[in-house]
Every structure is written in structure tokens, then in C-alpha cells.
């Protein structure tokens, strides 16, 4: 295993630094607004917030090209935002409005967007992995230089589908990069309570796949680890596995009293808040100041305000269209 940050020049340009900071802030503020809107009953169903894990999606997704495909999980608002799906379209989806990116058919757990090759939030743990393998198989058979990025949590490694997919992807040398977001808890079950072997990279390397862990609270490290993996995969060497060691600051969903972890543990991790860490680092490098902070916050707030307005103004799909898209409207031939 390699240490992903060892030879990484930690000197982002000011422009790039502000970009990463803004992307993380966009996710953080979006998710905070979602929690508020959930309490206001504007958003219903299950809602899984990404707060605390922003560095992973921002770092990983900016290592991808626009034509690359993404398969995500049910905690995917952050990935969708980082991928460039408009916040308004995502928010309208959470409202269940037909202007939403999935026409209100999917909700929080099923964000889809063909334009950005976003192949869905998948709400079955491990269920997205075979799809990612298949997308990569198509890319390989069509000799396209694209890769598929597959996000999943550490809980998925207990699923049979994880092992089937590690094997198949490595066996066929498919251009898929496995981004494992290890936030230590599968809902309420700690990794050490559910796995006999808690070294996730070891599981991947047992399938003859390069794998390395990275500090998931360090956005620069996340970006670098992802770039390295994507580069290797795109060069035709077969799949890679990156374990992002991160932590979810909020409850699993809005119904979770968090009986399975202590407040002290959460507070300890919050000291490593990816946004706070990055801001402190940038200030230390004189790449970020109070004006930057205010400007970014204002911009993000303006975008979010528009997103909520868009969702509020959205319309309900007519009930007459209930059965639309059970099957394609295009006829064979």
C-alpha cells in the first residue's frame, strides 16, 4: 500500500484552492438547508446527509473527466453537486417536483442525470457495484477512454456483491475505480463489529487490485489519491481501490438517535472537519482571508436561495403520468 499524500505537492494555486473550498461549502450549506427543510416537511422520505464527508466527493469527482460515469449511493447529494448537477434540479427532486433531476420519481436516494453521466444514487448497499462494473465493461468493449467511478460505503464490503465485483473487475481488467467511503458505521454498526478483517485495502488487494487508504478529511489528499487512481485505471491497468477514511457528523438519517456512538467521538472527529481543516491550511499559506470567506459564503447562499425558490416554484407531475416510464415510450425497431 502506498501513502497517498507522501509525494503530493501541497501547494494548490489560489484559484484551485478557492474552487475546492467553494465546492465543499456548497455541499455543506446545501445539506444544512436540507435538514431545515426536512423539519419543515418540505422534504420527506429518507434523507441521508453528507456533512463531514465533503472532501471525499469534491476531491474524487474533480479527478474525473466530464465523460466519465459515476455510480453513487443513497448519500449522494454531495456527489451530485460536485458533479455539476444544478443545485436547483437536485433540490426540486428532494421536493418531489417534476422539475427535479429524476422528475420527482427518485427523491433523495435516487438522483440521476444523463447529461453528467450520473447513473444514480442506489439505495441497496452494494447494489451499484455491478452496474459500475457493467458500465466499465461497455467502455472497454467500445474502446472508449472513459472510466467509471463507483462510490460505496464501508458497509458494502460485507455484501457478496462487493466481492463478486472486485473479482470480476480485476479479472477482466475493467476501467472502474472503486471509491470506498469509510465513515466507520454501516448505519449504526461499527466496522469492527461487522468485519473480521477491518483493513479494507487488504480485501481489495487480495483481488490483485492496487489499493490505498487516504485521509478523507483532507481534500487535497483526497483529490491526489483519486487522480492517481483514475490515471492508473484510464491507462488500462485495470481497476483501483481507494479507501477514504472519513466520518459522518450527522445522524445516519433523520430518524437516528445515534445510540451507537458517543458525543465525545463525534466532537473529536469534528475537530478534523474538512472545511475547517482546509481553511486553516489555506490561511496558513496566505491563500485565503476573511474577504474570501464572506464572498464564498455569499455566493453559495445565493445559489442555495435560488435552488429553494426553484423547488418551491416547481410543479407536481400530473397523476395521469403515474405509469409513464415503467417502460420506454420508444417502440422497438
Amino acid at each position: 500500500m502506498m501513502a497517498a499524500t507522501a509525494d503530493f505537492p501541497r501547494h494548490p494555486s489560489r484559484e484551485h484552492a478557492l474552487f475546492l473550498m467553494r465546492e465543499m461549502l456548497r455541499i455543506r450549506r446545501f445539506e444544512e438547508k436540507c435538514a431545515e427543510l426536512y423539519s419543515a416537511a418540505k422534504i420527506r422520505g429518507f434523507l441521508h446527509l453528507y456533512i463531514g464527508e465533503e472532501a471525499v466527493a469534491v476531491g474524487a469527482i474533480h479527478a474525473l473527466e466530464p465523460d466519465d460515469a459515476i455510480v453513487a449511493t443513497y448519500r449522494e447529494h454531495g456527489h451530485a453537486l460536485a458533479r455539476g448537477i444544478p443545485a436547483a434540479s437536485i433540490m426540486a427532486e428532494l421536493y418531489g417536483k417534476q422539475e427535479g433531476c429524476s422528475r420527482g420519481r427518485g427523491g433523495s436516494m435516487h438522483i440521476f442525470d444523463a447529461a453528467t453521466h450520473f447513473h444514480g444514487g442506489n439505495a441497496i448497499v452494494g447494489g451499484g457495484l455491478p452496474i459500475a462494473v457493467g458500465l466499465a465493461l461497455a467502455e472497454k468493449m467500445r474502446a472508449e477512454p472513459r472510466v467509471t467511478a463507483c462510490f460505496f460505503g464501508e458497509g458494502a464490503v460485507a455484501e457478496g456483491e462487493f466481492h463478486e465485483c472486485m473479482n470480476l473487475a480485476a479479472l477482466w481488467k475493467l476501467p472502474v475505480v472503486f471509491f470506498c467511503e469509510n465513515n466507520l458505521y454501516a448505519m449504526g454498526t461499527a466496522l469492527k463489529r461487522s468485519e473480521s478483517e477491518t483493513d479494507l485495502c487488504l480485501k481489495a488487494t487480495s483481488y490483485e487490485m492496487p489499493a490505498w487508504p487516504v485521509d478523507g478529511m483532507d481534500v487535497l489528499a483526497c483529490e491526489e489519491a483519486a487522480r492517481r487512481a483514475v490515471l492508473a485505471v484510464r491507462s488500462g491497468e485495470g481497476p483501483c481501490f481507494v479507501e477514504f477514511r472519513t466520518y459522518r457528523f450527522r445522524a445516519h438519517s433523520m430518524y437516528d438517535p445515534q445510540l451507537y456512538r458517543t458525543k465525545e467521538e463525534i466532537e473529536e472527529w469534528k475537530k478534523r472537519d474538512p472545511i475547517v481543516l482546509f481553511e486553516a491550511f489555506l490561511r496558513g499559506q496566505s491563500l485565503f482571508n476573511d474577504d474570501d470567506s464572506k464572498r464564498l459564503e455569499d455566493e453559495v447562499a445565493a445559489e442555495l436561495k435560488k435552488a429553494v425558490e426553484f423547488a418551491e416554484a416547481g410543479t407536481w407531475e400530473p397523476v395521469e403520468e403515474l405509469a409513464k416510464f415503467v417502460y420506454s415510450e420508444r417502440k422497438p425497431g
Partner: protein, 333 residues
């Protein structure tokens, strides 16, 4: 068929192989993937010789990973390919149920129409070969329960030859159930047989006194029963359902409206079955046309046993069909 029409003597297995070969020749996006489809030549020898003809990229042997390779078929279909995924038997398809039911059947709908899944899954179904309770079940009726899927049950040489291409042209997931007892069925087929429709039931034997409705492996037995009934003066119509989802209600109801009696023959179990569904539709929409209650001949509600005499006793057989039909006609005719 005109007297001059050229025919070939062919088995169901060979007809299916012709269909796969033609699809591979016609469309470079088509490939076959499954356990032992290549080197071994297919568990039931359907794909024998195709590896040599098309190579390992397009005739892909997979690991024993039903969930991974069925899901990979979904991903590859989303990625622009036209996969034919073979599952050895319907019992093994249960290991891929997550991918079929949670992904293939839902993604078009959940994505608001953005991602269709042009995937074909073929599998063997049915009993009669002393393979006992983990290789002999008829679960196609289960799959017919799922919106988003199409369920085909070719029972004739022409349908074995012709349904696949139409299924591949369909923009949505299509499951083809090949009853294992049919592979050795041999007969004359038009030399130029090709694609057939997949949305209509077929009247295999016109009649006036009773409608015998069946599909797949029990079509032959039902036709035999009809011949025996004819000798006893009962003119039975035999309806081959061909497609279990969507059911061709028009043909079913039209037949019942003409004969006023319906007997459904189904190798699946009676409880919660496709035969129950057909019976219900007839009650709902043709109740006042009926001269007798709808009746069914189904498999006994047991796991299919190994011993030949017990297996025979568990399955719908010609005498039981004849007896049930005669009872219906005798009472009210």
C-alpha cells in the same frame, strides 16, 4: 405455410443458437455473457460453437457471480451495449434478484425516463429432468409480477428462433424463460424463420368448446390433451400465452368469450401464480361470458422431487388436463 415453402429440421436448442448467432452477426453491440457459455458450450449446449466463431470478448465466460454479471449486464446496457446474459437455471437467478428487481426493473422509472436498460436475460426453467428442487422450479410467474420487466416464454421452434431478436430491439429489460424439457424438441421450421412479435398470445389450436391457456413447457402437453379431447368430441382451443408480462388480455378474453370456458395449465405452483392472475382477469372482465368456473391444472405445491414417479406426479400431465376439461364441459355442456 405454402406447400413450396422450404423448411429445415431443427431442435429448440438449435433454433435458440441460430437466434443468438444471428444477433451477434447483425449487431456489434450484442454479446453473450454467463456461466460456462464459452469453453463449455453452455450448460444446455445452447451456445456450443459460438466461442470459436465470435471469440472470448463476445462470448464471455463469467465467474459464478450471478449478481455481478447480471448487474454488469445492466451497466453494459446503460453504457450502450446490447448484452444477452445467460443464467443457468431460474433457481440460480435468485442470486441475482437484487439486480433484476431493484435495478433493471426500476432505473428507467426512478431516473424519470433518463436511463433505459436494453438488456436480455435468458434462463432455463421448469422440471421434468429429475433435477430435484434446486434446478426444476418454474418461477417465471414471480418475475411476471414485476412492473418494468417483460417476460417471454417461447414454447415453439419459431418462438425460440424469433423472440430473441425482438427482445434485443426492445429498449427495456426482457427475460426469456426456456423450459429445459424443450431443448431436445425437434420439428420442421421455415428455413427463413426470423424475428417474431412478443406482445401477442397465439391460438395454437382453434376450438369452440373450451379455452386451454398455457405457455412454455406445458404447451405440448396441452396440445396432446386437446387432441385427446377431440377424440372424445370436445373441441378445445389452445392459447399459447407466449408473453407473461404484459399479458395479452385481448386474446385471452376473446377466446373465453367464444368458448365460455377457461382452463389454465401452468407448471408453476397454484398459490399466488400467473394462473391465478389470468383467472382473476377473466373473472373481472368476462365473468358473464363464463359457463363454468375458471379451472386450473398446476404443479403440486411441493419442492419438485427427484424420483421420477414423484416428479411426474407433481407436474401437470395430459390425463389431468383432459380430466379437468371434461369435467368443465361435461357439467355444463
Amino acid at each position: 405455410m405454402s406447400a413450396q415453402a422450404k423448411t429445415v429440421r431443427i431442435t429448440y436448442r438449435e433454433a435458440m443458437r441460430q437466434a443468438i448467432r444471428e444477433a451477434l452477426q447483425r449487431d456489434p453491440r450484442v454479446f453473450l455473457m454467463g456461466e460456462d457459455v464459452g469453453k463449455y458450450g453452455g450448460c444446455y449446449a445452447v451456445s456450443k460453437g459460438l466461442l470459436e466463431e465470435f471469440g472470448p470478448e463476445r462470448i464471455r465466460d463469467t465467474p459464478l457471480s450471478e449478481s455481478a454479471f447480471v448487474g454488469a449486464g445492466i451497466g453494459a446496457a446503460m453504457g450502450g451495449m446490447r448484452p444477452i446474459v445467460e443464467i443457468m437455471t431460474v433457481n440460480f437467478s435468485l442470486l441475482a434478484l437484487d439486480q433484476i428487481v431493484n435495478n433493471a426493473a426500476t432505473i428507467l422509472y426512478m431516473s424519470g425516463g433518463q436511463f433505459n436498460i436494453p438488456l436480455v436475460i435468458r434462463m432455463t426453467t421448469g422440471a421434468g429432468r429429475q433435477l430435484a428442487a434446486q434446478h426444476s422450479h418454474s418461477l417465471e410467474g414471480w418475475y411476471a409480477h414485476i412492473p418494468g420487466l417483460k417476460i417471454l416464454t417461447p414454447a415453439t421452434l419459431e418462438d425460440a428462433r424469433g423472440m430473441l431478436w425482438t427482445a434485443l430491439e426492445d429498449p427495456d429489460p426482457v427475460l426469456i424463460f426456456e423450459n429445459g424439457a424443450l431443448y431436445n424438441m425437434e420439428g420442421e421450421m421455415a428455413a427463413d424463420a426470423g424475428a417474431v412479435d412478443i406482445d401477442k398470445a397465439a391460438i395454437r389450436r382453434p376450438g369452440t368448446d373450451i379455452s386451454l391457456m398455457t405457455y412454455g413447457g406445458t404447451l405440448g402437453k396441452t396440445l396432446e390433451a386437446a387432441a385427446e379431447l377431440a377424440r372424445a368430441g370436445v373441441n378445445a382451443e389452445v392459447v399459447d400465452l407466449r408473453t407473461l408480462r404484459p399479458l395479452d388480455d385481448a386474446t385471452i378474453l376473446d377466446s373465453v368469450t367464444r368458448t365460455h370456458r377457461a382452463l389454465i395449465v401452468d407448471e408453476g405452483w397454484r398459490s399466488g401464480s400467473i394462473s391465478a392472475e389470468i383467472s382473476a382477469r377473466i373473472m373481472e372482465r368476462a365473468f358473464y361470458e363464463l359457463d363454468a368456473p375458471v379451472a386450473r391444472v398446476c404443479s403440486a405445491e411441493v419442492p419438485i422431487p427427484y424420483a421420477k414417479h414423484l416428479e411426474d406426479a407433481a407436474l401437470p400431465q395430459v390425463p389431468a388436463i383432459v380430466e379437468a376439461a371434461r369435467a368443465m364441459v361435461g357439467e355444463h355442456g
